[in-house]
Symmetry: D2
Subunit: 481 residues, 4 copies
């Protein structure tokens, strides 16, 4: 019990899980060069908790047992707690060179959600989900487990409800109910981190009607549970050369198509099973916690945008040009608006059943602002960097006697800056913005944690338009409807 | 001593001040139909302090004397104080139908500034400005005075320093130093509220060099001091018909060209007089407090945008159209981003000499975001409202037997909504966005409290680029410069 | 017959028409100070045709009779003709200080439309509309008549069809069919120029279904026809001082609520009467011609934006600042994009029944681009000008002995530029962008000639998506659906 | 003489040229799998000229000899010629799946430029450059040669002039003048297509002062000339799988660092050699022709954006959602604005010395509009497509028995669309927008043919501000300066 080391965590991934990658079954994640790098990235979570410099931020001591646990598991009870959670996420992402770890952040988003919603379901249906949830929550905390969350279903035709689809498995659903548990079937799309975690938590992706009640299912199981099959995507990491891919060669996430092939879920791990009117509540509550996580982990990548753009401007000798200052200022405004809004979402939280929930309006506005303007920020960074970003030489050209000196000679920039450092700065920017990895980030910006439309819908739905209409009526002197 | 009533305040404006308006000397503000409306608007400040509903927000009791004073005068000592100050400003502006009062907000911005800067000047120059400032501050508070701040000079050619100008009076400056005080000359442009306040506080508008040291001058005097001459601008209020101008007929500000024609300032009212290296510090410190005031008073007008746009959409029967929802959502995002950022600026304040100073970066980003996007918000509101905004009938047409029924019949909208209410909603929107008053607001958005460029300069200058460049170097594996 | 002089045109407006303005019946337009100014603005159309410098552009000689006629009436038969028409509109608008005249442009847009559509209706229904149209067209040309077009109905609840409205008269419709003509009732909203023209042409505003066939009506009649009642709007012109309103005091349009109170239309002036399936065709065809007119008359106002912003920058001494250049460049790009697209729409026209119809896609894109970005252009102009735009003195202050010299002294800018010229440049910008007139222009930008949504709907509907989808399939190697 | 076949063209690349790629000397382009694909892409130019369907567009017959030649070489003499040139470029790019060929377009841009500028240089300096140019132009045409243009120098510190740099070779310059020619040294960055062409044409990159006159050099030589060394960049093509990279596996460009290591240029191939005051003229004239080429080849890629976004929307069942229509409409507006402006630039050309030069203002506005909005278009396409773009499976997963059926089952979309076709549409979008190739396109958008700033500078510099200022003065009633 208690905190695990990063070695223990990594060792734990050798549990016989069913992982396919690039057309092959991967028997041991840690023995696979590409996947291993991803696992070592996520292992940072455990390393930071061991690090004396960060220990106080990332861990806390249980008052009853005196045991040290990861702070992620402690439900935030105040704005300060939320700010500290935000700081944990921002700090670990910064240490991960701008790439979030996401093996506890998202899982605890789900755990907090279950805590809030299970109570409501129990009240209406007389179920005992809250007890199950609390037991599971305690287990995750005490065993220091890592968790992925599988929410988005495969979905098929987006204009149809689950039960209207061509085949019934586009959304994960209950196919059998047994005394000791349920059997589920279906697939979840783009689950992040599944191959690198101990547990996978499953949530419904949308509000459901009564006809779709078998799709109203939530649960949590170990990733190596029989019938769980992960098909990992090769997207989003560009390659293993430190020269070409200074960030993505070491830091990246992996998504899976997560298939549940008649998987048995024991009752104590089932947190919703047919209570269709709570599917939407679960989905939305989770998303609100998770969007706060989102806006907490975005700024470090944007810091790298500001930093790398400023660096290459200096290396190219143009940092004093007015248009460069204009663009860097735009990047600062973009970054610090996201950061300030994410802090404001924490500071303006409200307490529900003892849990501090970030302000919905501000969280969604922050996420939408980030996502809606990301591509323009990419444009500004690339604009500052210049075309050499995508016309530069290969690493091998530096090792070749007949080309090395030419590169050294001709690719130099400002006096006093080494040509290789200039190339490294270029390669950083390309890796982050103009590569397979850069493309992955563009999609991550607009689709992870809900699309632009999802945020707009929430914002419109939650807003108190009547208050504003009443002010307008008063100002206009209208007394009627 | 203690709080004044609104009647006392208004009576106090009959002090012989020199005001010109539309080519005439105005002997008594309260006897002038247009200016009187402006004074009654600002008198709201005193009325709210008397109002039982708002008294706790707007006033507080001095611990030593037990006397009740306007809370504006109390320097904020914490984030909570700043949030409360923000709330005072937002509330009084909302009560003013979206128009700020600005007869204590800006004056106390200046007083807090003097408190912080006088200490520094005294330290360097051995002056006793802090003592003078504190005495003046106490006087304003105890006499419940209203104050304008005259900062922006007439400026002449913007590319030249004060002393390089065609004539030396484009910037206010010291023309004589006497044992008991100084004599100043020059003009300040667009000072808001001067005709409606007891005192005018003068600050330099920019950093100065030693050659310009006579321009490094700050002071405060009663508006009726001999030699002070106000030429009030007729801009920004459209007219006195409640039908045509539901807001501006009752609520508006007045700016003056504020001329100092060899005005004597007694020593106790002089807060800077030649210490040129503090002119920029004073100007910038003030602006930071004042931009926080700015982003506090902007949201109520934007609430009216959301409210009136939603109202007219309902009245026209189009509130469910997807493009209308999209535009209203944009207005919500705009408004709530300003609001959240302004709250964040308070919550992330830092304490300097016991005064809570709003976060500079967030304040400037909030102001810039507001200003940069204001015209697009105007476009969206007008787009939702429709062309009738500027093709509707005159009030007199409603009083005419041969046209009244036609208007009633043909200008109706949704069933159940009276034609006149529909017209009132239209007129509200036109008054706010498509009129002399609307034009005034557009300029207010981008130029009041500093232009867009001023905010960008502050943001770039204050930002810690090195931190970001270091992160980029680490991520890129760069160890050199 | 033949060309009329501007005096003849103005004299013709004294025809007993029923006009209400500001609550009064106006017996003689030319005797009314405000309306007279509007009429003198539109009279420019006739003056330019008499002007030797412009005669060749604005008039042409009928090959058969040798008579000189206004070129507006000649249907364009080639790209060159459309470019020349565009040039006529741009030139006359430029002479009108950026304000379109619109007493022949829009009327001939309608005449060309009738020429194209009447042929189709006749073909299907065996009517003789084309003959009527051609006779009317010839009469307008030979008598050199001015015309307004009333298209947009009062509309009531926008979510309902004409026949579903609370009362049946929100849309103009046929209330009686007689052997010699029809009787119509209803009201058209914001008809431009009605009080200044000889004829008003009426068109349906939208596609209709069979139940609404009585609303499928188009016709043309003299403005003084019994039962036609004009309630003129006071919006959009700010006042009569040349100082305060250098443009709008002399140049402005007037819109009316145009009421048809059981008006008899003789058969030869009826161009649609119940053929409901052509209502949408008429409406859309007209709109396409008219949007081309729109994008032809927009550039001169934008030229004034560029020019006045550049002028005030010079007068203020900031024209070399990089941010000023950036903003002026934005204004140039904006203006010249509209201009280039409007020229492209002409150059890419297609010939239908001998009439050159501007390219629909380009026309709509041009109009949408203009409208969607107008408010940002306003922002940039105001940003460059500065706050004095709305805090400057009144004209009367210049006439007052005690303030004149102060203004002269303190409101100066760059050396060598007179203070009054600087004020005039400010006032021009305020008049154009930050006044009742400026608000009128903002609405005109987004709502005249169809709203932003109207253009987007046309663009989406008319676009050949299949062509692009086929290219995508080929590139993706897709052979299926 | 006369047209070459694509086989002849490809065979011609086996000429012993010095090419390095990924750290290896490439003795034979056509024997290298990656580079061969690039060459086969560019060979389309020759294939289209042979294709009966396109022959008339791409070739023409010389009136004197009756010989058929590529139409690219014929200087445009009218708007129609420019439109036809535009059509050639757009057509061949469309056949290249959105990727320009650029082996004759850019070379002839340079040839037309030399034709115009050589005449001016000869006039001033008494040189015989025009004769040389014409002879070279004829040779290229008659031998049907392919050409690259190397303009952008390596540049070093961008804030310094060529002669101020740390070492003198950052810009290509003359190191020796011999009776029969000159010797040049230096490097040009990101030259497109060099490895796939017969000839490389060199132009100065900027205006120069007299001190830099040795940098004022322009010439043309065969790529296999001794001393010419090409280091090809590996950027911008993602890989060779048709599944993963449906476009870039077959269509892509290659850029080189083009090194001139004391290369001898015989006199007849030298087109500028020290006439420093024409360096800027050459650079700018070329850029204007080349930006017209740019805006001609951009639309086909944007057609693919519209098409692939519409396709995936249909496949996902969301094509009727209002926000999807809004975004597709944005993409249409974007694409057709670029297309209309590029056509307008042709139609508004001006004739100089018999050559039709596209309108500078419109060309630059078109290029700037394209570049400035490209990333937003990418965002919209990705937004419509969804996250599966970067979380989908590997090609190999489709070949594996244990995963194939799962993919088929779970990744389906709309009924009737095959899962594989849905994946192909996703992969097309990823290849175009969210990959190494997509990143390459982002940079190509903003930096090829000059950066955003370069276009803005041209637009501001070339604009007739005085015309607009005069209009403003007239409207304002200003008679002074």
């Amino acid at each position: 019990m208690g905190l695990r080391t990063s070695e223990e965590y990594l060792e734990g991934l050798r549990d016989g899980r069913t992982v396919y990658f690039r057309g092959e079954r991967v028997p041991d994640i840690m023995a696979h060069s590409e996947l291993r790098a991803g696992a070592e990235h996520t292992a940072l979570d455990y390393a930071l908790a061991e690090d004396p410099q960060y220990q106080d931020l990332f861990t806390t001591t249980m008052p009853d047992t005196g045991e040290r646990v990861s702070r992620y598991f402690i439900p935030p009870a105040s704005a300060e707690d939320l700010l500290r959670r935000r700081e944990m996420i921002e700090t670990s992402t910064r240490e991960g060179s701008g790439i979030v770890l996401l093996i506890k952040e998202i899982g605890t988003d789900a755990l907090f959600t279950f805590n809030l919603v299970a109570r409501q379901v129990d009240e209406k249906y007389g179920t005992n989900y809250l007890e199950r949830v609390q037991k599971y929550h305690t287990e995750c905390r005490d065993r220091d487990l890592s968790m992925a969350v599988a929410q988005t279903d495969a979905k098929g035709d987006r204009s149809l409800l689950p039960s209207q689809q061509t085949h019934p498995d586009y959304y994960v659903h209950i196919v059998e109910r047994r005394p000791d548990g349920i059997v589920v079937r279906g697939a979840k799309a783009h689950t992040t981190g599944t191959v690198f975690v101990d547990e996978v938590i499953v949530l419904p992706t949308r509000a459901l009607s009564e006809e779709d009640k078998d799709y109203a299912v939530a649960f949590a199981i170990p990733v190596n549970t029989p019938g769980v099959k992960l098909i990992a995507s090769p997207r989003g990491f560009s390659g293993d050369s430190m020269y070409h891919h200074p960030v993505s060669s070491e830091h990246h996430l992996v998504e899976t198509l997560t298939i549940f092939d008649d998987v048995f879920i024991p009752n104590e791990r089932v947190f919703l099973a047919g209570e269709w009117d709570f599917a939407g509540v679960l989905a939305n509550t989770f998303v609100e916690f998770h969007r706060f996580t989102a806006v907490s982990y975005k700024p470090p990548l944007l810091d790298l945008f500001i930093g790398s753009a400023s660096l290459i401007a200096v290396y190219n000798g143009i940092e004093k040009a007015s248009h460069i200052r204009e663009k860097v200022t735009r990047l600062i405004i973009y970054t610090e608006t996201v950061r300030a809004l994410s802090r404001a979402a924490a500071m303006d939280c409200k307490l529900i059943d003892g849990i501090a929930v970030p302000d919905t309006m501000t969280t969604n506005i922050a996420k939408h602002y980030f996502a809606n303007n990301y591509h323009e920020a990419v444009r500004d960074v690339q604009d500052i960097a210049g075309a050499l970003l995508v016309t530069g030489p290969s690493e091998a050209d530096w090792d070749h006697a007949e080309t090395r000196d030419d590169l050294e000679r001709y690719l130099g920039g400002r006096k006093g800056v080494s040509t290789m450092d200039r190339m490294k700065a270029m390669n950083l920017i390309r890796d982050l913005t103009a590569s397979d990895f850069g493309g992955y980030h563009e999609l991550l910006a607009i689709h992870a944690e809900g699309s632009l439309e999802a945020q707009k819908i929430t914002i419109f739905r939650e807003y108190d338009l009547l208050r504003c209409m009443d002010l307008a009526k008063k100002a206009a002197g209208i007394e009627g409807l």
